[in-house]
């Protein structure tokens, strides 16, 4: 279980952060100023520090500097929390080495996006004892509206096997037979609502569940998270939006090995990591898994890695950040990297300070040779 240290002089903010961390099921320790935070980081060796910027006694910038000076704490990932986000501040804290920053006030989605870069995506519904394996390529959509079912089916059937149910009772019967990896459930249905339905499904298997709710009804979001929903999609939804949430939920329910198998391979004896094209959330989930795999490669004596970005349609800021993190971690472990990318992407990557000097090749063969 991960440990997160939250450092903020406001008890209210510490409580809010604790609430937002609930989906991660981590142990939380608290400090009320920078000095206390540095001391607790040395004692508890947390997996992540969430650090406020403006605090009495020692502010967040000073505390970050202290953490980075000490061998015992310099490797601990830090995410800054700030009510301000001027360019000067962002540059200053970036130079001190932070994994991200969260601007207050923040929504759960924003918070999870940053925190998941370090802890990985939160698990979906809790796995019951004795639960049997689920089919990660199947999704069950539950909604009393035939129109919504048709829209959801159209959005997902290209990539997954889609089952549909028009009531909670029907959903449970279908779930028991097919054990789909993801269940998308309308929260408001007659007879058996989305909360009663997920409760029954959690008794039968360990699938990730996505809630469907009417746009603007924010009151249901918190309740849905507490019930175990991994994500919430508001109706009316875009096909791409539903697909992204379902893809993410499917990967959240899968084991790290299941997730890795599509993105880690070997080419001529050299490990290859491929960055996913379709989903930034999937990338966020993958990064900590890539990190563990890197450490395991280093322990096995591997000192070379190809990072393949050839399949990317576009280079998003998430891809750049992920690539930089991967290259930095590999460098720290003494692993040499080469990037396999088409010329158009290489031109863009050479314009970024952190990636401009990396060795590039347009084919994996070329990348492998550059590592010899």
């Amino acid at each position: 279980m991960s440990t997160v240290l939250t450092v903020d002089d406001s008890k209210v903010v510490r409580t809010m952060v604790t609430r937002h961390l609930q989906p991660y099921g981590c142990t939380i320790v608290e400090a009320t100023n920078g000095q206390e935070g540095v001391d607790m980081a040395r004692t508890h060796k947390p997996d992540l520090v969430l650090l406020d910027v403006t605090m009495p006694v020692m502010d967040g910038r000073q505390a970050l500097g202290e953490l980075r000076k000490d061998d015992a704490t310099k490797g601990i990932p830090v995410i800054m929390l700030t009510a301000e986000s001027g360019r000067d501040l962002v540059v200053e804290i970036a130079k001190l080495g932070v994994h991200g920053y969260i601007v207050k006030p923040f929504q759960q989605e924003t918070f999870e996006k940053e925190v998941s870069k370090v802890l990985g995506a939160p698990a979906g519904a809790a796995a019951p004892a004795g639960a049997t394996a689920v089919d990660p390529k199947a999704v069950l959509i539950v909604d009393d509206s035939e129109k919504v079912l048709a829209m959801a089916k159209a959005a997902l059937e290209q990539t997954m096997t889609v089952l549909t149910a028009t009531s909670g009772k029907d959903a449970i019967a279908q779930y028991a037979k097919a054990k789909p990896g993801v269940v998308v459930i309308d929260l408001v249905m007659p007879d058996m609502d989305g909360f009663a339905t997920i409760a029954e499904i959690q008794k039968l298997g360990k699938s990730s569940c996505v809630a469907l709710t009417v746009r603007g009804d924010a009151s249901l979001h918190e309740k849905a998270k507490k019930a175990g929903y991994a994500a919430i999609v508001e109706k009316p939804f875009q096909a791409g939006e539903l697909l992204e949430h379902v893809t993410q939920a499917a990967s959240a329910g899968a084991s790290p090995d299941d997730v890795l198998k599509d993105f880690v391979s070997e080419d001529g004896g050299c490990p290859v990591f491929s960055l996913p094209n379709q989903s930034s959330k999937l990338l966020i989930k993958l990064l900590p898994i890539f990190g563990k795999k890197l450490r395991s490669l280093a322990e096995d004596g591997n000192d070379k890695l190809i990072v393949d970005v050839a399949q990317l349609n576009e280079l998003t800021s998430e891809h750049v950040a992920g690539l930089v993190r991967l290259l930095t971690e590999a460098g720290t472990l003494g692993i040499k990297t080469a990037i396999c990318a088409p010329d158009a992407l290489v031109t863009k990557l050479r314009q970024i300070a952190e990636t401009k000097d990396a060795p590039y090749a347009s084919t994996r063969d070329g990348a492998r040779q550059s590592l010899q």
Binding site: T54, K104, P105, F106
Partner: protein, 151 residues
């Protein structure tokens, strides 16, 4: 550089709605200070390219409900220290949001730590040659005032 009513209202709305999940049913913009006395006041100062004092104020019970909302414990009554803490965080975040909204970088405008005062009755006044930018948000069961006094 000036700050408009709309910037102040937008900042207050996003902070209240995001943190405390409150529903804002209306807003009144003016250049007056709130005529009614409040029971809790949070302030912070802007220093630098744009100077001034930001003040937020409301009745105690309203602040209690907002603090409970921030804690995710609607219907409960947090202790007085927690209510003041919530008000301080509220004015801090509204100040930060205004700063971001007007596109100011870190060193152009700096925000002081917030100060919160409670008691009854309270009013606020800042010596300034300019009129204050005041927005009163109607939360249904009470109002939440935000006032920016330019230096």
């Amino acid at each position: 550089m000036t700050i408009s009513h709309d910037v102040v209202e937008r900042a207050a709305r996003v902070v209240l709605e995001t943190n405390a999940s409150v529903k804002i049913v209306g807003a009144k913009q003016s250049h007056d200070t709130d005529g009614a006395f409040s029971e809790l006041i949070g302030t912070l100062s802007f220093v630098g390219k744009l100077g001034g004092t930001l003040v937020v104020y409301c009745k105690w019970q309203q602040a209690v409900e907002l603090a409970a909302g921030m804690l995710g414990e609607v219907g409960t009554e947090p202790d007085a220290e927690t209510v003041r803490d919530a008000m301080g965080e509220m004015v801090n975040q509204i100040g930060g949001t205004i700063k971001r909204d007007i596109g100011a970088d870190g060193n152009e405008i700096m925000l002081s730590p917030p100060v919160v005062v409670s008691g009854s009755p309270l009013s606020h006044c800042v010596r300034s040659s300019q009129k204050p930018v005041t927005v009163d948000l109607d939360l249904g069961r009470g109002t939440f005032g935000v006032c920016l006094w330019p230096a």
